[in-house]
Amino acid sequence: MMKLLAALVALAALAFVPAFAGPYPLGLGIGILGYGVLATAWAMFSGPTRYISLATVAFFGLGAYTVAVLADVLPYPLVLLVAALVGLVVALIVGLATLRLAGIYFVIFTFGLTELVRQLVTYYEVNVTRTLGRYVFLPIGPEHIYWQLLALLAATLAIAFWVSRSRIGLALRVIGDDPDVASHLGVRITRTKLTLFSISCVIMTLAGAIQAPRWTYIEPSIVFNPTTSFLVVIMALLGGPNRLFGPLLGAIPLFLLFEWLSANFPNHYSIILGLLFIAIVFVLPNGVLAAGDSLWSRLTRKAVRP
């Protein structure tokens, strides 16, 4: 109960940030919230199952593109709904094809999915609509985007919390530990994985849709940038994909680092991030929070044993 209260107070405090923050800090806030949502949604599925999804930006970009295409035609809430549906349909196609098989097929499928979606969208725009770039003119200021993302992040964390406490989350963890045991226990493996994967993908799609008005100009090479998928995985891994706040805690320092790197080393940031990524896989296989816990328990054990 106290924790819930603290969370609500923190949420309310964060909602007042746009009132006094300047445009640059507000932009940083939007970036952190956006990546926080993506990393939390990624970890919701990929953390317990260890099915590493490399296609975050495919869903993110689909959301942004849906807004770019439909913004002039439909009212904004309806556009978001359509974006969520598009994400759901693609997630179901990917999931139905790969999630009944071993994890490796899923990873391979998602590895090329971004490139596939990018090429298909480009093909459609070039051959059918004959416009490659699109402009998004919506009466939505940065503070509105900030609030929407904050709401989405709160919803994502709430879902992740609920999942970790519910039967489906337990089923997912059993699947991650040992799929054979899970099926003997009567867990419907494919359905469980598909449900969680779809939820996670719809959230990613919405994160893209909400941030679309920020770009003003949208084209496939901008919204389907593979670096985004890469960043999301590294953020979730740094914080720890099996903790509720792990991915969010990973997103904050890495987003700031990425901002700094892309401003100061625009040509070398992917090398630096790649090396950092490898280092994290080596040194912190379960994330900073888990490493902190084990260090803490080692320290306290030493204190007990004089």
């Binding site: 260890r50 590493i52 490399l54 094809a97 790969t98 098989l101 071993a102 994890g103 490796i104 097929y105 990873v107 391979i108 499928f109 590895f111 090329g112 490139e115 596939l116 090429q119 298909l120 480009t122 093909y123 070039v126 051959n127 593979p226 670096t227 890469f230 995985v233 590294i234 891994l237 040509n267 070398h268 940031y269 992917s270 090398i271 991030l273 790649g274 090396l275 950092l276 990524f277 490898i278 896989v281 080596f282 296989p285």
Partner: protein
């Protein structure tokens, strides 16, 4: 038109098969799912490109430099980066996850280095771009050479794996890494060698690619993807399967590009992949992959 499309498709398919053989060695023997594989290919293409344009060295001779370089680089990558992961992980699933993540990071490192040196533009050079008549249709001599090279390397690898003692060791590790030590096989060094050999094949594929295709620093992902699809279609660890699957993929891509739309080749590739996953996930010729 159809015949020339089929010939072009076979050439492309031969390259895919060659490249996929290297990946199937790395995944089947060393148990490493190498997402940076395509970037090793592109690095070799750039190597051949630099040797040809800056030093005037014929790519065939350039292979004598590039292929050993690919071998050494992959050997080092395995020894420095992947072997500690392999030692740390008790079961295969854990190693698969860790190696996917580590090579995913490596992908961005290699691609980043290529971007810094060569930029994001497409590169190519003109080598043996003379037309040759075959069965009444014309094809560039460099494409023909690419196909011959793919056949030679594929055959050489197959003979090595089936006819030599060393090949038997590699196949034993692929078949059962837990039992291989019981007959006196050093699994660590066999896996390291297989990974390096896969890297050498990737480098050979990269030189072949550079002879007849335009390439760019960010294209590695596409090559990795296609090699993975070929490996899965052919069945993991199955060289002949990789050959057949590579040819099928090359043919389908070229036919789609010449008769439907060049923008849809990757979609066609994915459609085949989807069909294989739904109908025969163990591969066209393979046994079930775990």
């Amino acid at each position: 038109m159809l015949l020339s499309a089929i010939l072009t498709g076979l050439v492309l398919g031969g390259t895919y098969a060659l490249v996929a053989m290297g990946l199937t060695l790395q995944y089947g023997v060393a148990r490493i799912m190498n997402l940076a594989y395509g970037d090793v290919i592109i690095a070799a293409s750039f190597g051949a490109f630099v040797l040809f344009t800056a030093l005037g060295i014929n790519p065939l001779l350039g292979m004598l430099v590039v292929i050993p370089a690919g071998f050494v680089l992959s050997w080092l990558i395995y020894a420095v980066m992947l072997q500690p992961l392999a030692r740390r992980s008790r079961d295969r699933g854990r190693l698969e996850g860790d190696s996917i993540l580590a090579t995913f990071g490596l992908l961005f490192v290699i691609q980043g280095v290529a971007l810094v040196i060569f930029g994001a533009g497409f590169q190519s050079y003109s080598f043996l771009a003379v037309p040759v008549d075959i069965l009444g249709t014309t094809i560039a001599a460099n494409r023909l050479l690419a196909f011959v090279l793919a056949v030679v390397f594929g055959l050489g690898l197959w003979l090595m794996l089936t006819r030599t003692r060393f090949g038997t060791v590699i196949r034993a590790v692929a078949a059962n890494p837990a039992s291989a030590p019981l007959v006196g096989i050093n699994v660590d060094s066999a896996a390291r060698f297989a990974f390096a050999l896969g890297g050498a094949l990737a480098a050979a594929g990269g030189v072949v690619v550079s002879m007849y295709l335009t390439f760019s620093a960010t294209m590695g992902v596409i090559f990795t993807m296609k090699a993975l699809i070929v490996v899965i279609m052919g069945g993991v660890g199955n060289l002949m399967g990789a050959l057949a699957a590579g040819l099928i993929l090359g043919l389908v891509e070229t036919l789609v590009a010449s008769f439907i739309d060049p923008g849809l080749t990757l979609a066609a590739t994915y459609l085949i992949f989807l069909a294989v996953l739904v109908i025969r996930p163990q591969g066209l010729f393979g046994k079930a992959a775990r």
